[in-house]
């Protein structure tokens, strides 16, 4: 696994750049990851990320958009505003998790 440096943090990533070690993430790093993809991270983003992180420990995979909207209660429309264009992948990236594999 390659190691890359993001805002002074050395992290393990896959070939695409998604973090591969769950424990290398913290909210400070999330801010730096978000910046890399043009997102100014706020409290509303962080709440989504905390849900994704927690859900990942239980399910062993990254929640899909639908799961975030139905289980965490963040409307789909809002997710598209918080993480524009490709919300599922962007959320996963900033949360330091793999891309979601579910279809819906």
């Amino acid at each position: 696994m390659p190691v890359t440096t993001i805002a002074g943090h050395d992290v393990h990533v896959d070939d695409e750049g998604f973090l591969t070690s769950y424990e290398e993430w913290d909210e400070g790093l999330a801010k730096a990851l978000a910046e890399q993809i043009g997102i100014d991270l706020g409290e509303e983003h962080l709440e989504v990320l905390r849900f994704l992180r927690e859900d990942f420990t239980q399910k062993g995979e990254t929640a899909t958009l639908r799961r975030v909207s139905t289980v965490a209660g963040v409307p789909t429309k809002r997710l598209f505003e918080l993480f524009p264009k490709k919300p599922a992948k962007k959320m996963a990236y900033v949360a330091g998790l793999p891309k979601p594999r579910g279809c819906v």
């Binding site: 890359t4 050395d10 998604f18």
Partner: protein, 168 residues
């Protein structure tokens, strides 16, 4: 182990995405409702502008009277690998429908009306076919809220200029 100076980042290609998708839903059975809608939902999640045209039997997916009650039949569908005669027995369509609904729910995929809502919330565009509406004497009042308008085939072709097309 390698350390790069430029960080390794996923390319989300925000600025280069000008892909456009036109999906034509022409079938009204439960099993044939899903392929188009799942693809639409996936495309929207990838930032692709997506338009769906509901035509002929596909109209059932957006007709408020029928959209909650789509059915699946074994008849004429050899992919169930059951004797075709069985499919014609009383109650078989209801049973096949409830089993399919159960399998779909098990993989976390919502029912058709809810999936359509998710598509609209994700920025998808739903269009209803004028000819189908006129043939069945239906107006916008009969259609689910997410449908933007009843339009002609020509209008749809115009709206989806340059799009990739999926026909279901």
């Amino acid at each position: 182990m390698t350390t790069d100076t430029a960080p390794i980042l996923p390319t989300f290609d925000d600025t280069t995405t000008d892909r456009k998708l036109a999906i034509i839903c022409s079938k009204g059975t439960l099993d044939m409702a899903y392929p188009g809608l799942i693809l639409a939902n996936a495309a929207l999640g990838e930032g692709v502008e997506t338009h769906i045209f509901f035509t002929f039997w596909g109209f059932d997916l957006v007709n408020k009277k029928t959209m909650h009650d789509l059915k699946f039949t074994m008849l004429g569908n050899t992919a169930t690998h059951m004797p075709q005669g069985l499919g014609g027995l009383p109650g078989m369509t209801a049973m096949a429908t409830s089993r399919l609904k159960k399998s779909i729910a098990e993989v976390g995929v919502p029912e058709v009306p809810e999936l359509l809502e998710q598509i609209v919330d994700s920025g998808g565009h739903l269009w209803a076919c004028r000819m189908s509406a006129e043939m069945n004497h239906l107006t916008m009042d009969d259609l689910t809220d997410g449908v933007e308008a009843i339009i002609s085939a020509g209008d749809f072709i115009e709206k989806t200029e340059g799009a990739q097309v999926i026909f279901v």
